[in-house]
Structure formats: C-alpha cells, structure tokens
Symmetry: C2
Subunit: 191 residues, 2 copies
DNA sequence: GAATTCATGTAACTTGTTACATGATTTA
DNA sequence: TAAATCATGTAACAAGTTACATGAATTC
C-alpha cells in the first residue's frame, strides 16, 4: 500500500499531525497523489500498530489536542527498502470519468459535448494555475526542510504535472475544432 | 459508480459476456478506464438485480456455458441521464507510484533514480506503442458497430492518451538530463 | 505434454468515498 | 452571526486487488 509510503516519506522531513499531513498532500503532492483525511487517520493508526510511526499527544490551552506523529527507525528502514525497489507492475490506474462520457459522445448531441468540453477546459485551466503556484510552495518549503537535492526532485514531479495539463489543454482545443467542424453541414457532405 | 456506466455504454453497442466485456475494456478503453474481471462480474450481478441489464445463458456443446448480458430499456435511460450530467466534481484520482518514489529521490542515490527512470521510460514507450496500435482496433470496430460519429469520439479519447504519453516521454528525457547534470561535479561547483 | 484461451465465478482483503459527530477559534 | 479553519476521529459502504477454484478446447 503506497499510501503508507507517502506518509512515511513526508514524516521523514518532519513530524506532523494527520491534519497537517492532509494539507501537505493537497498542497505539495496533489499532482500525483490524493488521499482523504479519513484515509490518512486510518492508515496512521495501522502504521502505529506496526511500529512504523509513533505518536505523542500535545495538549494546548483553549485549542484542541494535537496528535503528532513521527517516523520510527523501523519506519525509516521500511521507507528506504521501498524506495529502492522498482515496482514489478507499474500501477497506472488512470480512470477518467470525463473521457468515459466523451467516448460515448455519439449517444448524445454535439452541443452537449461542446458544453461539457468547455467546462472541462475551464477546470483544467484552473488546475494548471494551481499547479503553477506550487513552484512557490516548493521554494518556501525547501528553505525550511530538505536540501537542494530534494528540491530538484520535487520540481521534477511538478514539471510533469504541468506538462501533462498543457498537453491536455492543447488536445482540448484540437478536439473542440474537430467536433465543431464535424458539426458543419458544409463539410459534412461536400458538393 | 462509473464502472456501471462504462458497462452500460459498451453493452449499448452489442450484448456481451463478462469475459468479452473485459476484453473490450483492455483493448478499447484501457487508455482511460481499467477494471478487473472480478469487478466486472460483481458489477454485472448488481446491475441485473437493479434491472439495468438482463442475462441469458447460452448452452453450447463441448464448450462452457456463456452468460450473455444485454442492456434493458431502464439501463438505456440510466446511461442517457448520466451522459448528459456533467460531474459536479471531476474525479481525477491520478495516483502514480513512480512519481511518489521520485519525489523522495533525495533519499536514495542518483544511480538508483536513473535506473528506475530508464525502466520507466521503457514501460512508457511500450504503452505508447500499444496505444498507437489501437487506432486499427477502432477502425475495425467502427465497421462492425457504431457509426462515423462514434468513431470520432473513440479516436479523440485515444488521441489524448497518445499525447499524454508523448508529453510524458519528453519530460523523461529532460528529467534524465537534469538529474545527470546535477551529478556532474564540473557543473556542481564551477571554477 | 504444457501453456494459453475461453468462461464462469467466490472469498478475503485493502483502498477510496461520503456522511456523521464534536467543538473551539478566527475571519468575513 | 455565519462561515471557515483547526483538530480529532468513526461508520458504512463502494470500488479495487489478489488468490483461489473449475474445466474444456486449442495452440505451441
């Protein structure tokens, strides 16, 4: 289960609560990994049972208690051995609901498709904007934790996220034109 | 659950067994949707309970029985209303184990990263080759089922799959160079 | 003779998703 | 004063994964 390695890796930079782990997931690795808060809490409990992490409850006046998790030496070993083992099977389970609809586009009207595609473009654009703002987050974070080596790899993964979104947007433009030109009665039956 | 819509959509072209549905998943929509055979069987049972599909057992001499599923009118309605409803939340759960390792690349040696990246490139290349062979599958299939409209959309989804893989490969080349040049002691501290 | 394909599923388990429950502090 | 943020989780269910079980026909 890769989620536990994602958690171990992030805890290897600094101890964190489940809540703050979720923030890092959303801000720093959302371009290639997503997890729900409830998943993170469940996984942390399991990992503590297995001795991969250890928790300490911090009581603070007024504000609610925080349960701060840190990686154990066993957790470090676990992480390390995972990092150097290239997966036998590359899991690439890319299930895309929008593409599933588009595949069956022949079953609905072109206007509906154009409408959905335009919405999809808007969403993709805002995701691209979000990703581009993450370079700043990496810069800030590399000053606090990790070294210049870490920063190289953080930026590389983000580069891919940005490039894939750009390729996606280029495809959207071409697809819109293809669909529109198919809609043009002059081009449908020439002569 | 989008799996049931994928099944309904495919059954709307022609009746199929669970086994042949799996083949279509792997050959025709694998670039944006993946499902295990056991998932398909489970989902078909559930859908039959809900009246979205109906099955008929065909007995054949010598060979094992086949359970052929077809879409019901209720299933058609179900599919149609899903197709015209743009999702409130675009599910983009893209979890990539390779990128997760790369993100933590600072924790392992550069040689290991280069080794894994090279393997990743090889896998990505073979996926691209597979995708490119699917245009032929679409061509063949559009002669048997569906019309020219369907073919446009089938090709569009495949176009995206191909373009994303190409963008991925371009990124790999650049990433390899960046990692290698960071490894070069001459570039590390000039002078 | 061994492996692959066709064809059906069940069982056990892990992961992902959504809703619920609680409650203080801060910001709009 | 309403909403958002911080902070913890549980419960219930849906979806994804892997292993097991069966057995004929075909291909290597």
């Amino acid at each position: 289960m890769s989620l536990s390695y994602a958690i171990l890796g992030l805890l290897s930079y600094r101890p964190m609560t489940g809540y703050s782990l979720k923030e890092v997931f959303d801000n720093s690795i959302s371009h290639f990994w997503h997890a729900h808060l409830s998943q993170i809490y469940r996984e942390l409990s399991r990992m503590e049972e297995n001795g991969l992490v250890a928790s300490e409850v911090q009581q603070r006046e007024g504000r609610p208690d925080r349960k701060v998790y840190q990686i154990t030496s066993r957790g470090e070993e676990n992480l390390q051995s995972w990092l150097v083992s290239f997966p036998q099977k590359l899991v690439m389970s890319y299930n895309d609901e929008f593409l599933l609809r588009l595949y069956f586009g022949g079953r609905i009207g072109r206007d509906e498709i154009l409408f959905q595609m335009t919405k999809y473009r808007k969403e993709t654009e805002s995701r691209l904007n979000h990703f581009q703002s993450l370079y700043r987050v990496i810069e800030d974070f590399s000053k606090k934790a990790g070294g210049p080596e870490d920063r190289l790899y953080w930026e590389l993964t983000l580069d891919l996220g940005v490039q894939l979104l750009r390729a996606n947007l280029e495809w959207i433009e071409r697809a819109l034109e293809k669909i529109k030109s198919g809609d043009d009665p002059l081009k449908k039956s020439p002569g």
